[in-house]
Subunit: 373 residues, 2 copies
């Protein structure tokens, strides 16, 4: 097919997609990557850290980024790797926990991301739900009553998908003792450190808690990097032993982790974003997102919606028994929101592209939509 | 950090990497993506098919590509999905086979990619090696003797990593009967159809064989697309049932496969490559690679190396007990080749950037290197 025709079709497809900049996407945790991230992702598009010896430059970038992100979440002398995203990081952490312990049970809050179900099924493990407390955080007492001999891992969430809540990681660690403890900070990892710096929120949720063994953290969510910029961090480099295989025909003797070929343009992209924005840049973004989250809550009260909880991060849900109908009606009007089931609510992620102006438009359209329900 | 400094560092890192265009990379199965692929990957960099409802345009591109590639490998009314690469596709296929059968054993040729070890370990399955015949293909008799009640899957390779060989898939299928049969065509999938069209090789290795249930095929290898452009193809859409989980807060009710967020710029990139090159473009590339493979064999004979087998695809290995020392010495001279262990040999993948000129330079440098060993 002539290139012109191919390009025409691609542009046509592009027009059909929703774009964050249109401002009508209110239910995604991904972000429009920084321009510089896209540029350097493209330049490094042939790199493959699965064959690390060929890419000493990209490997250097990865090491430096892992070091920066480790510092952000207070990990010292640990180990980390770029992965495909939070799901792969969660699966890999559970894979490690299972292989280290020889045990099969995972204790996870009811608010855990659905990737934990995948992880358990893939790995032949058993996912045990731990109920939540009134604040929709893992209930520590309920966790304690479920600790048994056969537990391979306990996991907590730092920035839950549905409500943006943070589990009491220090309390959980106290209860888990020597059991492998994983923190899913896929969303919160690039939010909570800045909430702390801004003095908006304080918590003991990262590697400062000595019992934390691993963490997932996505830079393509609040990190303004390109997909796939997932990161898996481990307290101890030796944890990778049981998930490595021999790779005789590559430039390294052992291949670590789940993926073979590793998408590495994203590493350069993330480097461009993280380094050029700096902590200050991210702090500003988080400040703005939290301002806008409060603004949204205010506007939603005016339309008659109560938030399920006072938002901790820039994820907020509003109670309504009509969640599914509202979602469908807003969809017809070209607005993409999402729903959660417990409690029944509509959910909005106040990403950087969800500006005050977008919020005003949204609440107006919503107010209209409610009349026709 | 100022953008200029960030960009300076990124360019410095880029210079440290090996690049396919330098022509000194002779052991990688990845390729320099088409320029148009890189361009459209970048344009679609915010797309995420893990949340398909937001990206109807990208979803359309994926459907069309899956349909094109299905046709190429003679799959009708099947199902397919872009995935992170051959490893993820192999893992997912074994995940399906295990969940459909409730069984644990995988029969795979000794030549299977190391991702099969990962798959077996992750999934709690048992990988049973099936010996190879004189041509380094899975030995059908050996397979037959290993068929038992508890086999979840049989897998064969179409374009092996070490020697580029193709297992006798039709024979294997006859022996496997109703057992789930997976074909790893990560490399061969974009080579073998064109070898057939060119009349260079003929084999019954794809979905023409009725017993084949799934296939992995990478477009970032011989497809000139960007990483990650892995594809998993399934004979039957219903196979995804046991690997789907509920995803209430996304735009689709169920999330299928291993990944959550799915890197989807690569889908647009692959579309650009596949559509603009067309079958004719790929046929030309394969013809050239095979010409150059023959040229390499000729030149290597002159230096005193015998190929392990007459190459079937553009992967070729040369016997030598000094493989590891030769690899190290060539490494010092800035050439990246790889080694295999059984038989001891050095291995070269004649990708499109490995031109006749590169081959001439390489054999000269190798000839020199041998003197100092």
């Amino acid at each position: 097919m002539p290139s012109e025709e191919v390009e025409r079709r691609l542009r046509e497809a592009y027009e059909k997609d929703f774009h964050f900049e249109d401002g009508h996407v209110l239910g995604s945790m991904c972000s429009k990557p920084e321009e510089l991230a896209v540029k350097y992702h493209a330049l490094f598009s042939e790199a493959n850290l699965g064959n690390r010896g060929l890419y000493p430059g990209t490997a250097m970038l990865e090491d430096e980024l892992i070091s920066d992100i480790s510092e952000l979440v207070h990990l010292r002398n640990g180990w980390g790797q770029f992965v495909g995203g939070g799901t792969e990081a969660n699966i890999t952490a559970m894979w490690i926990a299972r292989n280290l312990s020889g045990k099969k049970k995972i204790l996870a809050p009811e608010s855990a991301h659905f990737s934990m179900k995948k992880a358990a099924d893939l790995l032949g493990m058993e996912l045990v739900d731990v109920p939540l407390d009134d604040g929709y955080r893992m209930d520590a007492d309920a966790l304690e009553s479920r600790i048994e001999e056969d537990v391979a891992a306990v996991m907590g969430v730092a920035g839950s998908t549905e409500l943006g809540t943070v589990d009491p990681i220090d309390e959980i660690s106290g209860i888990a003792g020597d059991i492998f403890l994983h923190v899913d900070a896929a969303f919160g990892g690039m939010v909570l450190p800045f909430l702390e710096e801004l003095g908006i929120w304080r918590g003991n949720w990262d590697f400062r808690v000595e019992g934390v063994d691993s963490m997932s953290l996505d830079l393509h969510k609040m990190g303004m990097a390109t997909v796939p910029s997932g990161i898996l961090l481990l307290r101890n480099r030796e944890y990778v032993g049981p998930i490595s295989v021999e790779s005789p025909y590559l430039t390294t003797e052992r291949n670590i982790g789940l993926a073979g070929t590793r998408p590495s343009g994203a590493v350069a992209g993330a480097y461009a974003a993280i380094k050029s924005m700096g902590r200050e840049g991210y702090r500003d973004i988080v400040r703005r997102c939290m301002d806008n989250t409060r603004y949204l809550v205010e506007k939603m009260w005016a339309v008659g919606f109560e938030p399920v909880i006072e938002p901790v991060t820039n994820v907020v849900a509003f109670r309504t028994d009509d969640a599914e109908r509202i979602r469908a009606e807003m969809d017809r009007k070209g607005w993409k929101i999402s729903v959660i089931r417990r409690p029944r609510a509509i959910r909005i992620v106040v990403m950087p592209y969800v500006t005050k102006e977008v919020i005003e438009q949204f609440t107006e359209v919503l107010s209209d939509a409610l009349k026709s329900l």
